[in-house]
């Protein structure tokens, strides 16, 4: 079973995350992504550069090396042109009889009516009449060129290595800072946005910043320098030819922009079509059994064929248009080459230019178009890199949770008396949730909280953990305001089993030991036995070493929940919070777990939120919450006798069923709960 999914693929699925899956675009068509504009380009770009601050020295060294290698690479062809001239001169020299001067030979040619060749000869260097190619001069020149190229390559190598180090260290620091920041952000920050969005910022956006930084820094500088150097060399060799070559710049720009514009819309179309095909595929595969049993396969096939054809068309157009950029550029390059070859040839034959210079010029003109297009494409890359950086900066700039009080009190052995004093809290300022709540829980008591979805049950227990800051009033633990404790101190006294059965991607053993890293194998086993984890673990191929994957879809929701209970069990805290701890477990198993849980609760203060009223019969106090208020409190028997809201709930639920119509099944909870309540 598992060998069908490679590790890489699983990782890929995970990496893409929910947001990416929903967007469903092709992974490589980055060109097709609608270009994102940054909010405020210049300040943000500056801030990105400031990230490189600690690498200042390295960056300057990189710049110096880049200048050096570009300059050396630029003079190379010119010197190489001299070599061609030496060869050419040798060809001519061997045709002139020895003893005759260069001028005389030219005059002879003119006398024979070969004015043009004469003009050429008259201005030629290195011509020694009667002698062929001057090999010592040629050898010297070629050795110099070789040396120049070698040094240039070395400089380039050092530059590349230094730069990659600087960029990677910078990104390392950025990642570290962002992760650090995540630990200091208050919980409402996480609740306030879709998880996929935040996730995409800390992963995709940082990757994008890294990539843009690496590419722009290494290429932008070299490309710009190269363009400048090449143009100067061309102007130096022949201003006339330089003008001709430079004419191609605006032409190239115009053509690439025109094609780019056209292809952009095709890429957007391709992106859209891909999304649509992915949508049909996702839906048909996910609803596979329904499609079959309802006999809709043919319908699905038709639907798919239509989308697939549209994608075929769109991807053909996009590919074709973008694919024609290169040949078109090549054509412009060739035109340039032809014109330079012809005009250069004419100029050589009139003696206005040497053959070696034409040769060099052709090399320059071929080399300067490429960096030019690179600079142009860099603009988009920079835009998207800075836009990503802005999203990352937004995280770094988000307000942090209140720091722990400096004079934090260290409380000794907790007895577990919890008191809410006139507590008010709301997620949004305009919609009050909990108002003026008072509640005292004595050590060792079990408090059950019941009520409809959205009544504030989970919120209430989250406040004890100080996941949220109060708007008014205070909560005390053994008489000490919880804001006077460090979060570490407070939370290490509390064990919690959440609605959200989050497990990390590790083995079952590691997950159980999460709350107590120093636990022995025997401790883990004991916790597992008490919470019935041991029973199903043996049916798994790798037992306790079974690795839970990110989606944790290799074990059932009920089994996940049992593991989270074992985790809390092992942590053995003095205060226990059970939020819908057994909602995904079937009633028979639940009953068994209940026994374990009551053992766990016996000498601890416990808060229990439950849907199934049957599970809270033996609670010391039952609180009935509605709209953030406690509308009723008392023991099971008292409340039933009172015939109030609890009795009504109880009657509605005579079979231990779910209370709420609109209760979201556990599996979907993660996706559908915007506020983490």
């Amino acid at each position: 079973m598992s060998e069908l999914k490679t590790a890489e693929e699983k990782a890929a699925e995970e990496r893409r995350g929910p947001a990416a899956v929903r967007r469903g675009g092709p992974p490589h068509a980055t060109i097709g992504m609608p270009t994102e504009k940054s909010q405020d380009f210049v300040p943000s770009a500056k801030r990105v550069l400031r990230l490189m601050g600690p690498e200042r020295v390295v960056v300057w060294a990189v710049v110096a090396l880049a200048v050096g290698s570009v300059l050396l690479n630029a003079v190379g062809p010119k010197i190489l042109g001299t070599a061609t001239d030496i060869v050419f001169a040798g060809v001519f020299g061997s045709q002139i009889p020895p003893g005759v001067t260069q001028e005389q030979a030219a005059q002879d040619l003119r006398a024979r009516g070969e004015d043009q060749v004469a003009d050429m000869l008259a201005v030629m260097d290195y011509v020694v009449p009667g002698q062929g190619i001057d090999f010592s001069a040629l050898g010297r020149v070629l050795l110099i060129v070789l040396g120049i190229y070698l040094v240039a390559a070395l400089l380039q190598l050092f530059q590349g290595r230094l730069l990659t180090g600087a960029v990677n260290r910078t990104i390392f620091r950025l990642r570290r800072d962002v992760e650090d920041k995540l630990n200091r952000l208050p919980l409402p920050y996480f609740d306030g946005q879709p998880r996929g969005e935040l996730l995409s910022r800390v992963t995709n956006d940082i990757d994008n910043v890294a990539q843009s930084l690496q590419q722009t820094l290494s290429q932008l500088l070299t490309s710009l320098l190269t363009v400048v150097a090449m143009v100067s060399m061309m102007v130096w060799i022949s201003p006339l030819l330089a003008v001709i070559a430079l004419v191609t710049i605006p032409v190239t720009m115009a053509v690439t922009r025109a094609i780019g514009k056209r292809s952009q819309s095709h890429f957007v179309q391709q992106w859209k079509s891909t999304g649509e095909v992915n949508g049909v595929v996702e839906e048909t595969f996910t609803g596979h059994e329904l499609v079959k049993v309802f006999g809709r396969q043919a319908e699905a096939d038709r639907e798919f064929a239509v989308r697939n054809d549209a994608l075929h068309h769109a991807s053909f157009r996009a590919q074709f248009i973008s694919g024609s950029i290169m040949p078109t550029m090549m054509f412009i390059g060739n035109l340039n080459y032809v014109v330079i070859a012809v005009i250069g040839g004419l100029r050589v034959s009139t003696g206005a230019m040497s053959l070696g210079d034409v040769q060099a010029f052709i090399q320059y003109s071929r080399q300067f178009t490429q960096p030019l297009t690179q600079v142009a494409s860099m603009a988009n890359l920079m835009q998207s890199g800075v836009a990503s950086a802005e999203r990352v900066f937004a995280i770094l700039d988000a307000p942090e949770q209140d720091p722990d009080t400096a004079s934090a009190v260290a409380v000794g052995g907790t007895r577990g008396r919890v008191a809410f004093e006139d507590v008010s809290f709301s997620y949004r300022a305009d919609t009050p949730l909990i108002e003026h709540l008072d509640l005292v829980v004595e050590p060792g008591q079990t408090v059950a909280i019941v009520g409809p979805t959205g009544a504030g049950k989970t919120t209430l227990v989250n406040l004890i953990l100080r996941f949220y800051e109060l708007d008014g009033g205070r909560i005390t633990l053994d008489g000490v305001d919880i804001t006077d404790l460090t979060r570490h101190d407070l939370r290490s006294r509390i064990g919690m089993v959440l609605q959200d059965t989050w497990l990390f991607g590790g083995t079952i053993r590691e997950n159980i030991a999460y709350g107590r890293p120093d636990a022995t194998d025997e401790d883990v086993l004991e916790a597992a036995r008490a919470t019935y984890v041991d029973r199903f673990v043996h049916a798994l191929p790798d037992g306790y070493e079974t690795v839970l994957n990110a989606e944790a879809d290799n074990i059932s929701a009920g089994e996940r929940q049992l593991i989270t209970i074992a985790r809390a069990f092992l942590a053995a805290p003095s205060l226990l919070i059970l939020d819908e701890a057994t909602s995904s477990v079937d009633t028979r198993t639940e009953l068994l777990v209940q026994h374990a849980m009551s053992a766990l609760r016996s000498d601890r203060t416990s808060f229990v939120i439950a849907h199934r009223l049957s599970t809270i019969r033996d609670a010391d106090v039952i609180l009935v919450m509605e709209e953030g208020r406690i509308v009723e409190r008392g023991s099971h028997a008292e409340l039933l006798a009172a015939g109030g809201p609890f009795a009504a709930l109880y009657a509605a639920q005579f079979a231990g069923a779910a209370t709420d119509l609109d209760e979201i099944p556990a599996g979907q909870a993660e996706l559908a709960r915007p506020l983490g309540r």
Binding site: E179, L311, L661
Partner: protein, 577 residues
């Protein structure tokens, strides 16, 4: 893998591919002709001062350039067209193949991987095919042609080609070979960095509640360091690649000049030929480099092709019979006779020797703990799986002998996860019967206790439904799924834990409304809640894949300890009974 897949799927495009090959050949020849013309400008024009020849040769060069760009663009067009067609065809094959899969193959692969195989993997193969057709095809042509032209210009210098080409290929190849494992390592380490971040975000409450921030920070720091380490290794190799290539190019040029000069001095070569030779050598080296770099894409695409082949090569375990037996019209019964079902390779079967008989007009409930095999049992009826041994009969016909379409037409299914499709309320309900009238839809909604909330939606039946039904609540989704099954007016209804998100009162109303509509149908219900099944005509108790009791509620209370445990676990039930 890649080769086999592309060969199969490119076969229908032999004609355009031949045209493409010809066009690439023309383009290559044209671009190879340019340096030779330039050489002649020097030898026959510049050196002898023939201005007219220079201009004439220039004009020819222009024409050749035009031919080259036209041929290249035409080839690009065919390449884009063909690779897009290949993508379409492969995608459609995968989609159709998965459509034939039974639930067994689907769960063996898993929906997410099948989705990525039919989308991302296909894109990958399509991309490489395009690259190959647009660029790689011309590389060997350019190489062969370049060598031919270079030799023609001057055979004496051709040994330089024989040295420069392998030198470049080996240098670039070595760098790439060293880079590939780093790339893999980098992918892995970026995945682990992102996985930890993902866990920290999704598990923020747990991390904080268990005060594990420091441990998480350390875990992340390790991953971040590993990632930076591999990224640096890759970066350093990259930094090496460009200078090495430049040096080889430049050294070749220098060598051509030196050895060319020697040959010119001996009168074996003209100076124009030297220039042309230099241009050819550069062209050859360029194409070698292109080919080497592009071959980097092949391993990745090959993995994708393998994953696609794996899907295409998987046969459905459920086959349609060649000679189907028709299931009788009208009310049908459902019968399981000594059914055993095991997943292939599993040690223990999920169901063992299960028998039950459900007459039309009766309700049969299946209860048991999680993992008892209830859902598997229901899935056997519409042949989502096939039995390992024993028989499943619908209307007296073994389901394996019936035409699947015929079988499915008799079945209304409400699965455990009430999945809805994107569209509208009406389009979802018409899944059961495309020709149902609005009145019929409303009737189904009424029975499913969904009428009120659909009426309350501003657009009623035409209200939009998001993919999966995520824009309605769990309870609403469940009721819409029930209504969808009812619209099909089936002879057999399968409700797999279909009432779990409903409160007891709604559950009771729904069951009451259901009774008249299903009076001629065999109804199978899987449920957790005892109240849902208390009035069923028969209750089958499953435990560990075995039937441990069957009968009515009262009978089972007397005879079946497992059933009693289930009932007792729902304590409040005792008081009600």
């Amino acid at each position: 893998m890649l080769y086999r897949l592309t060969r199969t799927y490119l076969a229908p495009y032999a004609v355009p591919l031949t045209v493409l090959l010809v066009l690439q050949l023309v383009a290559t020849l044209a671009s190879l002709y340019l340096p030779s013309l330039n050489g002649r400008i020097i030898d026959e024009g510049v050196a002898v001062g023939d201005t007219a020849f220079i201009i004439r040769a220039g004009a020819v060069m222009l024409v050749v350039s035009l031919v080259q760009v036209a041929a290249t663009i035409a080839a690009t067009r065919i390449g884009a067209q063909t690779s897009a067609s290949l993508g379409r065809d492969v995608r459609s094959s995968v989609f159709r193949r998965v459509g034939q899969f039974s639930a067994q193959e689907l769960s063996r692969f898993g929906a997410p991987t099948l989705i990525s195989r039919s989308t991302n993997d296909v894109t990958q193969v399509q991309q490489v095919t395009y690259m190959f057709l647009a660029m790689m095809v011309s590389a060997p042509l350019m190489m062969v042609g370049g060598i031919f032209m270079a030799v023609r210009e001057d055979a004496g210098l051709s040994w330089l080609v024989a040295v420069a080409v392998p030198a470049l290929a080996v240098a670039v190849g070595l760098i790439i070979v060293r880079m590939v494992p780093h790339f893999r390592a980098m992918q892995k380490s970026v995945d682990s960095v992102n996985r930890i971040l993902r866990e920290q975000i999704t598990g923020v409450r747990v991390v904080r509640a268990f005060v594990r921030e420091d441990v998480e920070r350390e875990r992340f720091a390790v991953a971040n360091r590993t990632y930076t380490g591999t990224a640096l290794a890759v970066g350093k190799l990259m930094a090496l690649a460009f200078p090495v290539v430049t040096v080889i190019f430049n050294a070749s040029t220098v060598a051509v000049l030196w050895f060319g000069a020697l040959r010119i001095e001996d009168g074996d070569m003209q100076i124009g030929a030297l220039t042309a030779f230099m241009a050819y050598l550069i062209q050859i080296l360029m194409s070698v480099m292109m080919a080497t770099f592009m071959s980097m894409m092949i391993p990745r695409a090959s993995v994708s092709a393998g994953r696609i082949q794996e899907v295409l090569g998987t046969e459905s375990s459920v086959h349609a019979p060649t000679d189907p037996v028709a299931i009788p019209r009208g009310p049908v019964s459902v019968e399981l006779r000594g059914v055993t079902f095991a997943y292939p390779g599993a040690e223990a079967p999920v169901l063992r020797e299960v028998s039950l008989h459900a007459e039309p007009g009766t309700t049969t409930a299946v209860v048991g703990s999680t993992g008892a095999g209830k859902t598997t049992l229901l899935g056997l009826v519409p042949r989502l799986h096939d039995v390992t041994s024993g028989q499943v009969l619908v209307g007296g016909v073994d389901v394996r002998d019936a035409d699947p379409e015929d079988l499915w037409a008799h079945i209304g299914l409400v699965p455990q996860r009430p999945y809805l499709f994107s569209g509208t309320v009406a389009s979802n309900l018409r899944y059961g019967d495309p020709d149902a009238t609005d009145d019929e839809l409303w009737e189904a909604l009424r029975v499913a206790q969904a009428e009120d909330f659909v009426r309350a939606m501003p657009q009623g039946l035409e209200s939009p439904i998001a993919q999966g039904g995520t824009n309605v609540s769990g309870g609403q989704r469940q009721r819409l799924a029930i209504a969808r099954a009812l619209v099909s007016k089936a002879g057999v209804y399968l409700f797999d834990d279909a009432f779990s998100a409903l409160d007891v009162a709604t559950d009771a109303r729904l069951r009451a409304a259901l009774r008249p509509v299903t009076r001629n149908a065999a109804v199978l219900v899987v449920a957790q809640r005892v109240s849902t099944i208390i009035h069923a005509d028969q209750i089958v108790v499953l435990d560990g894949g075995v039937v441990v009791g069957s009968g009515t509620h009262q009978q089972l209370l007397d005879t079946c300890p497992t059933y009693v445990e289930i009932v007792e676990s729902q304590q409040a039930m005792e008081e009600a009974a």
